[in-house]
């Protein structure tokens, strides 16, 4: 899977969780949760969905690595698949 | 025959041409009635026919409605095509037993063996200051009876054509002609021709409201509709033409289009044709109505003699205009 494909899947998931926002306009280094006003519940929902889609498991201590779009896409690229 | 030609003729002339054409077309056709021969008809509809067709086919009869209507029914049973003229509907009560109990029922009573192809013409309505006993609008009485076909000639075309089609019917037909319209000039196709006698007629198409009427109401309604077309009301005018069996399809289609209906007729309002039309609309196309169905009918009094009171006792063009405006909230 390419970086662009991953990015597209992430954006689609974000759209479902925050339909009123425009995730496609995010800059790679924007803090996703702050920009899209995503609370902890929605953040968890997003993570559940991404884990399912990419067949990975994100431990809590890695939350810091996925704050930005760049960080999140890189994390998914490198994450071990189940 | 050139059907594209139209004539401007009186209603009386239209009726006469129909009668003459019927006599010419079929040897079995003959006319019997009071004063139809030597006198030329009480409304001069049959003037000159005795001279042209002779006393065997233009037959003056004694003043006995029961007798001569019965004779007509007998002639029809024997294979002729009689046209019985009852001078006016006012006298037809004397022949009611023949019409209701014989003409209308024999097909049924004979188990389908005996058709009664009689045509009974009657003039009807008011308009000549003939007062309470001679001004009746009794179309509803006949429209009540199964076994009869009841026609109303509200236009010149129908005056000139309905008789010809009626004579092709195997069952008894009553044709109502309108006393008040005899001298009225109008346009009709240039030659007497058969007309459909199963469908109502759309005299004027419109989209805002359906005026459903017959007989003397047709031209009055049309005049009212034309007057209002300038002020943005586009009324449809339906001439029922066939009062029995009624062409409900045309009525329903019109109401489905316009969503409003005004029923206009000279007959008294209680238990009249409009009452029936209103009930049928309610039963079948209620959910297409945007306003209650309204009626304009004859005032429920014996017909007065003075001209101004006679005029006031049935709906006139002005009444129709006012009612239409009110129904469409432009008043």
């Amino acid at each position: 899977m390419t970086e662009a494909e991953i990015r597209e899947i992430v954006i689609n998931s974000l759209k479902q969780i925050a339909p009123d926002m425009a995730p496609e306009k995010l800059h790679p280094d924007d803090n996703i949760r702050e920009k899209l006003e995503i609370d902890s519940f929605d953040a968890l929902r997003l993570l559940v969905e991404l884990d399912e889609k990419f067949g990975m498991e994100t431990p809590e201590e890695d939350y810091g690595k996925i704050r930005t779009m760049r960080g999140l896409v890189n994390y998914i690229l490198q994450a071990p698949r189940k | 025959m050139d059907n594209s030609k139209t004539d401007r003729i009186t209603y009386r002339e239209a009726l006469k041409q129909a009668m003459r054409e019927a006599l010419l077309r079929d040897d079995r056709v003959f006319l019997l009635g009071e004063d139809v021969g030597r006198y030329g008809g009480s409304f001069a509809v049959t003037k000159g026919l005795l001279q042209e067709f002779g006393p065997e086919r233009i037959m003056d009869v004694p003043l006995s409605e029961s007798g001569f209507v019965g004779a007509g029914i007998g002639a029809a049973l024997s294979g002729l095509r009689p046209v019985v003229e009852v001078m006016t509907v006012n006298f037809s009560l004397l022949a009611m037993d023949q019409i209701v109990n014989n003409a209308a029922t024999l097909l049924y009573m004979s188990g389908g063996q005996l058709n009664v192809p009689v045509v009974i013409r009657m003039s009807t309505g008011l308009g000549r200051q003939l007062a309470a006993q001679h001004s009746h609008s009794w179309e509803p009485l006949y429209a009540h009876i199964p076994g009869l076909i009841v026609l109303s000639a509200g236009t010149h075309t129908d005056a000139r054509g309905m008789l010809l089609t009626a004579l092709q019917s195997p069952d008894p037909v009553i044709i109502f002609e309108y006393t008040a319209m005899m001298n009225l000039e109008g346009i009709s196709p240039g030659h007497p021709a058969t007309v459909n006698i199963t469908k109502a007629g759309i005299v004027k198409e419109g989209k805002d409201i359906s005026i459903i009427t017959y007989g003397a109401g047709v031209y009055k309604s049309l005049d009212a509709a034309n007057e209002l077309s300038g002020s943005g009301i586009d009324a449809e005018v339906i001439d029922l033409r066939v009062l029995r069996p009624m062409d409900l399809e045309t009525i329903f289609n019109s109401v489905k289009k316009t969503h409003r209906a005004l029923l206009v007729e000279d007959a008294w309002g209680s238990v009249n044709i409009g009452a029936e039309v209103s009930a049928r609309i309610m039963e079948n196309v209620f959910y297409d109505l945007d306003a209650p169905v309204q009626r304009l009918c004859g005032a429920e009094v014996p017909m007065p003699y003075p001209k101004h009171l006679e005029d006031a006792s049935v709906p006139q063009k002005g009444d129709i205009v006012v009612k239409l405006k009110k129904m469409l909230q432009h008043g």
Partner: protein
């Protein structure tokens, strides 16, 4: 015969529009069944019935807007219980007289097809009858706008919040208390607990907070209730959990019997209820049953929150952000994750000492997260 009435889904609600009946006469119903969908300022709400029996008659038509308390349906009890009849006798008769909207048959048909409510449309026909023209006008007005696409405008929620909060500030003499709480034990426990859970089941700090408040209320029941010409305590502890909408406004669905639910159950419940609240698809009991409200600002937010009580409740507990702060304990200074918990309470119903007991009890429970 029982009566099913338009429920009050909050202090701010005066009327609701019946959008859809989910039952018809003859249908059996039992407590908790959703029988109707009602539109309020807070969206389309599934309305539950609290009686067992058979629907006898529907007395309010779809798309009709009626005041709270209007009888919407009659329910025949399974075995002729007479308990409800007394009720009917004392109820003012006007409640059952819903004025019939005058609309032509065609207008009604068109409105139903377009999903337009007749209430509120001004009729131009005779005697104010709504006609085809009036419906066409409504259709043409709503056609081009995108605003109508949203099922219920979020302005509706804004107005509902405005009404409730105005009433609260007007009528309730608030007092405020605050308590700083060391969250290191709670957060550590949570971290450990989540290691054993897959992502789907992971717990959030909010669950601990809700549970801690619910358990504290068991010990301080004086703050679990309504003020309505006097304090009325409630036996069930239903925590109203404030959920902010991205487009503005808040929804406060109830977490029923929060004190009796496990953390996992609470988490599952929140996962279900939050998206529904944001989509404005809540049930009537969720909107109306809260006995006390909890609001939590979440992470990286303001330090603390001074809440406005949601009437007719008498208290609201607010959780600020969890912040790393210097913390002195046993003569030692350390850095701890600290949260400031506040209480807004109704001084008509209670006093500072009771409020203080509640905050202390919440603190206690957060120090023993394994017991929550």
């Amino acid at each position: 015969m029982g009566e099913f009435c338009m429920p009050s889904l909050g202090a701010d609600m005066e009327a609701g529009t019946l959008r859809e009946w989910l039952v018809k006469p003859g249908d059996p119903v039992k407590r908790g069944d959703i029988v109707a969908i009602v539109e309020t300022q807070k969206g389309l709400i599934d309305i539950e019935v609290f009686e067992e029996g058979t629907i006898d008659k529907l007395t309010v038509r779809e798309d009709e807007k009626v005041p709270v308390g209007t009888v919407m349906a009659l329910i025949v009890s399974p075995i002729g219980t007479t308990a409800a009849t007394e009720d009917i006798a004392v109820r003012p008769a006007i409640a059952t007289e819903v004025p019939r909207i005058r609309a032509s048959p065609l207008a009604r048909k068109m409105a139903a097809k377009e999903g337009i409510g007749l209430a509120g449309i001004k009729g131009s026909g005779e005697g104010g009858t709504i006609t085809r023209e009036d419906i066409e006008k409504v259709i043409s007005q709503k056609a081009p706008g995108v605003a109508e696409e949203k099922p219920v405008g979020t302005e509706g929620v804004r107005m509902a919040v405005a009404a409730a909060m105005s009433k609260s500030n007007r009528e309730i003499p608030h007092f405020y208390l605050a308590k700083k709480v060391d969250m290191s034990k709670a957060m550590a426990w949570l971290m450990e607990a989540n290691k054993q859970r897959n992502v789907k089941q992971r717990l959030l700090p909010a669950v601990l907070m809700v549970k801690a408040v619910a358990k504290a209320l068991v010990e301080v029941p004086e703050l679990n209730g309504y003020w309505d010409n006097g304090l009325q305590l409630k036996s069930d502890i239903n925590i109203g959990f404030a959920i902010s909408l991205r487009t503005g406004g808040v929804m406060i669905p109830a977490i029923h019997n929060a004190d009796k639910k496990t953390l996992d159950e609470l988490m599952a419940l929140l996962n279900d209820i939050i998206p529904r609240a944001r989509a404005m698809k809540l049930r009537s009991s969720e909107l109306s049953d809260s006995t006390m409200t909890v609001t939590s600002l979440g992470e990286s937010n303001a330090d603390l929150v001074y809440g406005v009580i949601y009437p007719p409740q008498v208290a609201l507990v607010g959780f600020g952000s969890i912040l790393e702060q210097p913390w002195a304990e046993n003569g030692m200074l350390g850095v701890r994750p600290v949260i400031t918990i506040t209480l807004a309470a109704d001084h008509r119903a209670t006093d500072g000492i009771t409020g203080s007991r509640l905050l202390m009890a919440i603190d206690d429970h957060l120090q023993k997260p394994e017991m929550l």
